[in-house]
Amino acid sequence: MEAYIKGIGNISPQRTFDNSTFLEEIIESARPFMTCIEPNYKEFIEPIQLRRMGRILKMGVTASRICLKDAGIELPDAIIAGTGLGLLQDTEKFLTSMLNNDEKFLNPTSFIQSTHNTVGAHIAVMLKCNKYNYTFVHSNISFESAILDSLMQLKENPDSNILLGGLDEMTDQHYQITERAGFWEKSQNAISKGKGHSKIIPGEGASFFVLSKKQSKTNYARFSGVNTFYKPENTNEIINRINKFLESNNLSVNDIDLILLGQQDQFGDEIFNGVREKLFQESIQTWYKHLCGEYNTSTAFASWLAANILKRQVIPEIIKMKKQNKKIPLKNILIYNHFRNIYHSLILLSAC
């Protein structure tokens, strides 16, 4: 199963919504969390609609529009989204007003928008798209589930164009709650204790892709595999799973020209460092979360990054973990992410 990336649209804490540029100016990560650089939405959405839309809905709809335009597609054959928390701001708005007003005087808009499938549904209404429409909501593997579904859709219906997205937003209130709950403390296997900051920097983003089976010179790259696993017993299991995953794609670690790691700072942790040292000594070692922060669907940002690297054959200096010469041409990029050793994911992108 594989899928060519025909178009992209990405709103992130970097200035990424303009596809004609690629990380030319780097915005440094900010505390307590990174927020998206948002475009002028009036260029993409009718003002009358904009007024009622929550922030992540605006981000998602706009990223999807940029993406469809980039791909030259008006009507996709499926809309498949992954989001950990959906429309967080609207959920908080309805919940807080319900609690503050003793369940009285409530406005339905924020309730309607609080359902997790709102972005995918909104895109369908805007495009009048009656086709397959799905939203996966499983924490840090939401986007990965959406990729797998997209690959299966393309196997079942090879002529289709799939709109795939990963999106999540951060809010002040959610940061306050999760910060208090210790969510952003680095976990025990983080070896950076004493080195760097003890806190993880959260982030957010909305990244969309149009996928198809058709080859074209303008394609960015292709998704050639995805795999997720939950609470592995030890590093050996992780290594075995990575090897098995590559094998099932007829590759070995030697074929991975660049490994893009989901570590939360430049020091990594025992798991990332173990995987990097045991398997990917020969690959160009990179990381991405200083550009977008930690969030449930950060691998959608990583996929955007990998697709651009493969198309442009350029590796931004900012993502390199050490000075390494580029292997020319770059063929395969493996994204490996884990969060607290609970959710692990592998996404393989290859040059067209």
Binding site: L85, H116, V125, K128, C129, K131, V137, H138, M152, T178
Partner: protein, 402 residues
């Protein structure tokens, strides 16, 4: 050829029963679970009826084999109880899920751990008394608890497409097996009643202050319910190899979008029409082969009319037996699709059609009326189950006699 996907186990909990036998008994004796609110701590007590499970969280924890020290949300507890029954009814010991059969879980929920979040939200913001429940808020949490309990390691995900969520979980699980990703999946959904959803639906003014009357000309809206339903789906080959009892086949499925409005269906129910039509095409049968439709039938003005129009467009003049079972269970949101798919499994296995309670007068614009009383000794070869949700998410499943 992709493998056929069969159902080898079912498990359920709702306001009409804590397991399959109790549920079947209620369905046969027209015993509804809708009544006054007793558990949920809301100002709507006494005015809005719901289909509550009359067990406290502590009692549910005991039933699930946990204690309140395990910090499980009501949503997770309901899911665990139904999933356990599904596993047992498929004759699966926990260990056997490992034995060479790639096993996954696809679950669905709309509110996740909201039942705790809405009670402790101010604590979340100001102190650390209920920090455990910050971590149980995510939609994936109930899925993980079930996966951990049964040692499911090969695939896991959670779907949320409003009221069609668990029908979509079943569809995705079926496709995972057909695409060879896994050989066995536990699929379904779970949702606990929460003040959040009750007030949300109340602001939309679509809650009936009496027990709902789907497909009735004087219908006044829906009743919310809570529950969980899970099915064990297996590739035909694995089921036969293990000599599992095959309850039926998931022969058709389709997911479409009405693309009309966030909460209302299009006047002609176009998305619903497409979902039913495509599901029939996938199953390789003809419309006239459908013997029973378990309708989405929420009891709202908009849904029942547009669903009815879509049904007529496909089946008229020979509309099959139609019933909405929501007057039994209420609308259990993310669990509705799987609970109702299980009702279709029970209808096929027990040769009966469950009634559409509270129906009195046909909708003026429609030519058909739903089934009023239990029908027994009826051959059901193919049952169509509809689940439609906010955001125009329309899903139809076809369950067929194996």
């Amino acid at each position: 050829m992709p493998p056929r996907v069969v159902v080898t186990g079912i498990g359920i909990i709702s306001s009409i029963g804590q397991n399959i036998p109790e549920t079947l008994q209620s369905l046969k004796s027209s015993k509804s679970g809708i009544g006054p609110i007793t558990n949920l701590n809301t100002i709507h007590k006494g005015t809005i009826p719901v289909a509550e499970i009359k067990l406290s969280d502590e009692e549910l924890a005991e039933l699930a084999g946990f204690t309140d020290k395990d910090y499980l949300t009501r949503t997770s507890l309901l899911g665990i109880i139904a999933a356990k029954e599904a596993f047992n009814s498929a004759g699966l010991e926990i260990e056997s899920t490992y034995q060479g059969v790639k096993t996954g879980i696809v679950s669905a929920t709309t509110v996740g751990g909201m039942d705790k979040t809405e009670n402790y939200y101010y604590d979340f913001l100001s102190n650390n008394k209920y920090t455990h429940y910050v971590y149980t808020h995510d939609c994936g949490h109930s899925t993980e608890k079930i996966a951990e309990l049964f040692g499911i390691k090969d695939y896991m995900t959670t779907v949320s497409t409003a009221c069609s969520s668990s029908a979509n979980a079943i569809m995705f699980a079926t496709r995972l097996i057909k695409n060879g990703i896994v050989d066995r999946v536990i699929a379904g959904g779970t949702d606990a009643l929460s003040k959040f959803t009750l007030n949300g639906f109340n602001t939309l003014k679509i809650l009936d202050s009496n027990p709902c009357q789907p497909f009735d000309n004087n219908r006044m809206g829906l009743n919310l319910g809570e529950g969980a339903g899970y099915l064990i789906l297996e590739s035909e080959e694995i089921a036969r190899k293990n000599k599992s009892k095959i309850l039926c086949e998931v022969s058709g499925y389709a997911n479409t979008n009405d693309a009309y409005h966030q909460t209302a269906s299009s006047p002609d129910g176009f998305g619903a029409y497409l979902a039913m039509k495509q599901a029939i095409e996938i199953s390789g049968i003809h419309a006239e082969d459908i013997d029973y439709i378990n309708a989405h039938g929420t009891g709202t003005d908009n849904n029942d009319l547009t669903e009815g129009i879509a049904i007529e467009k496909i089946f008229a003049p020979a509309v099959p037996k139609v019933s909405s079972t929501k007057p039994f269970t209420g609308h259990t949101l993310a669990a509705a699709g799987s609970i109702e798919a299980i009702f279709s499994v029970l209808a096929i296995a027990n040769r009966m059609v469950f009634p559409n309670l509270n129906f009195k007068e046909k909708i003026g614009e429609l030519s058909f009326e739903p089934v009023r009383n239990l029908i027994e000794n009826i051959e059901i070869n193919h049952a169509l189950s509809n689940s439609f949700g906010f955001g125009g998410n329309d899903t139809s499943l076809i369950l067929s006699k194996y």
